[in-house]
């Protein structure tokens, strides 16, 4: 009798515990590789390293220093500039490509889709090296083949052209990738909607504005949010393209500045602070975008 009760309580317990055991691997990995570093970096942002062995508590000094640091502000502006470039240049181009490659009259769609998607398969470092040659002021392809605005542009040597060069490179590399999301979204729109609109006498533009865009809203929200997060994490492309942010920090981004502080200057506390400020910026922007695009709205 006693044994039976024990056994049934074991079964009972086991049934309760089993689900937790099944999800345990994820949580153990998450705690070790994400949770612990996250908390540890938050603590670190209130300290500064003194060489390799010791650290000193500095309170909010890293945060107040950061807000007075002109290179941080420059990097934040450059990163925001890139994000805006992505928003107003790259994503519309991606959408346009998707619409063209979804249209009935275009031939060789599969080949073109692959061709536009292919750049994303090239590692960022190689893209940067290739575009370094393309943007070269005197020997580069762009200045030699297209004399824009009647003068030779110092793409990578004059401060104001550096981020535009990075944005253009970003368009080449990522527009095709985002195109795939839009394409998937377009193919999910029911054809009957267009037919009904056509019967009602809607022209192409009207059906685009009233059918295509609203139907794509969840896809657009996803692509915009993911692209913005990616933009704010920009690092390898400008790091190689501008040789570490030169000239005069014109190509510096937040993550590049974080890397420099952490690994080149051995200011791990300051680097952790930059990381957390970046996290807060990304969180605010993402939530704002989702709200604006109405993703939290109940249908």
């Amino acid at each position: 009798m006693k044994m039976e009760r024990n056994r049934s309580s074991f079964w009972h317990q086991q049934q309760k515990i089993a689900p937790y055991l099944f999800i345990a691997p994820f949580y153990i990995l998450f705690i070790v590789f994400m949770g612990y570093p996250l908390i540890s970096s938050l603590i670190l942002s209130f300290y500064e390293m003194r060489g390799f062995q010791s650290r000193i508590f500095v309170g909010f000094a890293n945060f107040t220093d950061l807000f007075r640091d002109p290179i941080f502000w420059k990097s934040l502006w450059n990163t925001t500039y890139f994000a805006l470039g992505t928003l107003v240049l790259q994503l519309p181009i991606a959408l346009l490509l998707a619409i063209l490659l979804n249209a009935k009259f275009v031939k060789g769609k599969n080949f073109l889709r692959l061709a536009f998607f292919a750049p994303v398969l090239v590692a960022g470092v190689f893209v940067a090296i290739i575009f370094n040659l393309i943007f070269d002021q005197r020997a580069g392809l762009i200045n030699n083949e297209f004399i824009l605005f009647g003068k030779e542009i110092g793409w990578l040597s004059e401060g104001k052209y550096v981020m535009p060069a990075v944005i253009l490179t970003g368009v080449w590399q990522w527009a095709g990738f985002n195109m795939i999301y839009f394409l998937a979204g377009l193919q999910g729109i029911r054809q009957e909607l267009y037919e009904a609109a056509a019967v009602d006498g809607a022209n192409w533009w009207q059906s685009f504005v009233h059918i295509t865009l609203p139907s794509l809203r969840p896809v657009i929200a996803f692509v915009v949010v993911v692209s913005m997060i990616g933009s704010f994490q920009l690092f390898d492309l400008p790091y190689i393209l501008t040789n570490g942010g030169e000239p005069a920090d014109a190509g510096s981004t937040i993550v590049m500045y974080l890397y420099k502080n952490g690994f080149q200057f051995m200011r791990l506390g300051y680097a952790a602070t930059i990381g957390w400020v970046l996290f807060i910026i990304i969180a605010i922007i993402s939530i704002a975008q989702l709200k604006l695009l109405g993703i939290f709205r109940e249908e």
């Binding site: 010791s54 005197r138 990578l156 040597s157 200057f265």
Partner: protein, 459 residues
Amino acid sequence: MRIPYDVESFPLGKGPMVMLVLFLISCLFIFAPAEEKGENVEFWIFANTHYEEYQARVPIFEALHPEVNVQLINYGGTMHDKLLTALLSDFGAPDVVEVEITSIGRFLKGDIDEVGFVDLRPRLESEGWMEKLVVSRFTPWSYKGKIFGIPHDLHPVVLLYRDDLFKAAGVEMTEIETWNDFIAAGKKASRDLDGDGKIDQYAIVLDRRTESDYFNLLLQRGGGFFDADGNVVIDSEIAIETLEFLTSLFNQHKIATPVYGTWHGDPSNFAAMQDGKILSVLAPDWYVGILKSQVPQMAGKWKAIGMPAWEVEGRRTTTRGGTMIGITKQCKNPDLAWDLLKFAYFDKAGLINRYETTRIIPPLKDAWDAPIYKEPDAYLGGQPLGELFIELAPDLPPRYQNPYWSEAADLLNDAIFNAVTEKQTPREALTELAEKVRALIAKDQERWGEGIIDENGTE
């Protein structure tokens, strides 16, 4: 063959079973005891050319030490970050490591006794190596009286020039002695080739985006960013005058062109050289090695002289770049590591092999007698380049190391660019820079409660 087990009966089917089997096999590899072959020495490298050299040399070392197994690991550009992480976490650092000159600063931060490298001064002094090496080359690897690495190289800098094109402009470059002579010659040779009113053939190519060429000139004059005691001296008159001089070569004399691309080794820069748009360049020994391998078609077009001096009879060279070899404090057998260091850096046969492949002159003075350094160099139209480097080597300026070098260099790059593009005067740019770096150091010292370092290098 039939598997004597019905795979379908495995819980959840075939896929998870395959994964489980792969997982178990991986565990077998991970937890299997490593093959024991005496003692292991781990040696990290960041430069491909060095890696190739040591790959050929390590078997010879292992033959001399049959109980030893040298693990040579080339991490390329990310090696310094990996080393930093390993030293921070007190785990996983190699026994022996090569470190690059602009990267060593960050490893010297904090208390001098907590630096992750073994002080090699006692060994160097007791074995008499100090006298055998060019002593100014220890300065990049020394701090507060300790020596954390042996220099791999000297990296003396020469002026590499297009003899044919200077001669065509009526200039005999071997007669150049000072920078004033060079400016006069440069004005003759910098020309508009296609008649569009713009100069397209420049006497010299100089970097205005980074500290490289400015620092070449500054060190040549005996200046620097920090002095031997760690003080910031980048706003000294000598530093300001040197930046004014660099700026004048671009803007006033119009004999210098900025580097094509991002640095002197950029393919577009090599293209401009081949097009005859660049007539000279300040070239360390390793840069000649790069030119030989990247633009072999220019063989015979270059010649070399010592850098023009700042005054008659002045110093004709400077130094650019460098590598050290050191022993980390995580090394369990420093005596064995020391033997490896000496084998890699002081063995004459190895040094000759190094010159053949990279054109790098060793800091070991005894090795300079080798006939290879006197051999005519076909790339320079038969000029014995090694002889010129060795002639200049004893006059190499010191380059003092400092924990704040990385931050300082990053800000110095900006100051140079702002001065050359006339956004700031050289004096404004360098005064502002010096204030920033002093404030940075003062703040850390205040936090750490450290005093100013006195002349003996003690706190």
